[in-house]
Symmetry: C2
Subunit: 486 residues, 2 copies
Amino acid sequence: MAHSSKIFCCFSFLFSTLSIIPLSHQLEQHPLDSLTPIEFIRVQAIVNQSHPTTTNDITFQYIGLNEPDKQALISWLQNHRTTPITAPPPRQAFVIARINHQTHELVVDLLYDNIVSDHIHHGFGYPLLTFEEQNGASQLVFNHAPFLAALNKRGLKVEEVICETFAIGWFGETKQNGRVVKVMCYYLDGTVNLYMRPIEAITVTVDLEAMKITHFRDRLVVPVPKAAGTDYRESEQKEPFGPELKGITVVQPDGPSFIIDGSRVRWANWDFHLSFDARVGPVVSLASIYDTEKQEFRRVMYRGFVSELFVPYMDLTEEWYYRTFFDAGEYGYGLCAVPLEPLRDCPANAVYMGAYVAAQNGMPIEMPNVFCIFERNAGDVMWRHTETMIPPDLITEVRPDMSLVVRMVSTVGNYDYINDWEFKQIGSIKVTVGLTGLLEVRGSKYTHKDQIDEEVYGTLLAENTLGAYHDHFITYHLDLDVDGCE
Amino acid sequence: MAHSSKIFCCFSFLFSTLSIIPLSHQLEQHPLDSLTPIEFIRVQAIVNQSHPTTTNDITFQYIGLNEPDKQALISWLQNHRTTPITAPPPRQAFVIARINHQTHELVVDLLYDNIVSDHIHHGFGYPLLTFEEQNGASQLVFNHAPFLAALNKRGLKVEEVICETFAIGWFGETKQNGRVVKVMCYYLDGTVNLYMRPIEAITVTVDLEAMKITHFRDRLVVPVPKAAGTDYRESEQKEPFGPELKGITVVQPDGPSFIIDGSRVRWANWDFHLSFDARVGPVVSLASIYDTEKQEFRRVMYRGFVSELFVPYMDLTEEWYYRTFFDAGEYGYGLCAVPLEPLRDCPANAVYMGAYVAAQNGMPIEMPNVFCIFERNAGDVMWRHTETMIPPDLITEVRPDMSLVVRMVSTVGNYDYINDWEFKQIGSIKVTVGLTGLLEVRGSKYTHKDQIDEEVYGTLLAENTLGAYHDHFITYHLDLDVDGCE
């Protein structure tokens, strides 16, 4: 599934916001570097000043780097080596903001402190949902009498209910739906695994612009699956446990073999730039590999990132049909990144990096430990051969495999995506997305598969619990430039 | 490609043969254990005694365990727990021997020391080639005047020539070809990478039974690709080198978490039996996983192994069309296993195991370090979730991934197959074959792709060097018994 409102996470970050990098650092800035905290603040100020009468109503749905022109950047990089005073391509931010109930796409220049372009979007689609508006929408139900009555009818305690916002997809409508979401709730009461306890058959529709419930329907009562056995926390597990494994760790007595210089990472024969974006998460740019024979770097990839994660469900019922999530475009694959847990999300030899995103008011929010970088020593072999045909010796040549991994984890609601970029010494880049987290389930009246004689759009996993049929389509933007051939 | 004659390797093993495991160990023998050295010797003696007049001519093409009946074994294992005195299934060897120029398939009982069955094979196909007969066949050319003349015509030094034997495939003949191989030679002269220097267009056909060259043809002279730049040994590499990586190793201060008890391996929730076979290499049997809730082992796989590696080439020329190798059935995937190189083929925390195969005379040959077993800590995550929806805490639960790997490397001529059986804590068994080693190339008159205007069945990789089109089909025998469902 693919909703999210990392509301609380977001707020707790907010307090640790303003430990800002000194401005002098900017002199060394790479044109592809993510926006700095100072730059976020300047973007906010420039946009707010341009609309003084509505400043309090402006919401920043997205702020990120406005990618410089590729050819301009490449020639600047080439000239920069010999003529360091050449001016870099313009440093600009791309902003999506709601101003006067309209979606503006703005380009803000950070050298001249002005708005370069301001385009109002009238077409289909709407900007990324902010955590703040998701939080606002999902709280509305708690003051909505029909919803409280619906809980009451089911015998559910309101203080155990957690709600989330769901994008509604597009089903061929010829007119825009506006910025509308649905709110769907879960029941804790004895577990932290809320996703296993959906409160089914209630439809709540919210207009984000008015921040009001525009439609409510309580269609039928479906049992909430039971809490027992759903808590996944180690601290809550009870015996019998499986066999415990002895300690195992990776050791690098002389430290890592990679060098992180700002956003530039160098390891083995690889050199690349790593940045972070609220929508797409990690962006790997200018990846090149050193050719020892030619004694020069050879271009491999200009820019690569996850461009979208499309997660459609195959359930046609009233409360499910609209679930066709765009995790990057609607919720933010980067925005939903979570702090990596040292020694568990990444091995002992990992190094961590943070990033910044914009809050709804445009102010920077620090996201600590959003990336980890480590050398992977998985016990694999890069190349080997044993030659038995040339006496008297047995020739055995083995090159163990080592690679560099850049990892981010994005938790979009119940699903955790483990996003790896792996650089291999043989010259390949391997992209992997590990899908984990908690299954999206649908509450059901069924307790045994023998009772099922209709299409239920899922598999009965436990009493009153259907695992909903769905797909995860992960698409990549890969601008490969092998030896400059685009 | 898929030929082999690990002749020299074989001979060097031979001298370290008779450090034999004490017989008393057999009391604890598992019915699926590979044959012990003592058992090989008894099999040899029983077969030789059964044909006293031809003993000197008997060749043992294969000796291995005659797999006990599955149901008999499973019920014995079940009863054995409660009634340890129950007799195990009969301990038998399966033997393929050439006796009086006929292929015998024999079953030898190791309790009663007798031959249970003796079947003469009259159909197509022939037994595994022994190292000894491959060696004999490939040496014949050096006393064959037309071959020496062919070398002379090409200006090649005989002392730099290495020859190998090639199985000839089957192309719809209605009569058997007998036991025939072709011999193909390579030229060292400045490299150990013989496979890059084929001496093309000479066809040598050998009848193994007569151990004589039955046909010779020198069709045309093709340049032998040059030696420069083909030596792969680390000691022979010259600057410039790529960047060197700092040390990285796996550490298990309290030792490994697996227990090896004879052929039985226990790790985490897994329990399985590991044996070795000359034809198929590693055999994993009786793999079961402990269910902590049910508090019992649940069956997953009765028996699994690589049943064949079929490597056909797509070259229709006279010297290449027949290359359609069965690496397991013709050369022995186990027989071609090579000693694993500690710290390179397997990580620092690996444990090594040896095995035995039969020489052509039936005597056991020790193969040291044929398996390594290690826990893989690749920095992956088995399961994770971060929960942001339940204030005030951020719940982060991460279970790092750990697995157990059983590895064997089989080098069939130029190709090295890295054969892994990986046991995962989530209950899956992952089989992997890494394909490495040296490419099979064909010598060619071409030095530039612009010269090519005919089908050359390959890609021009370097001057006079065509990478030959071919496939590797790896098939597995997987007798899965999930929860006893066969």
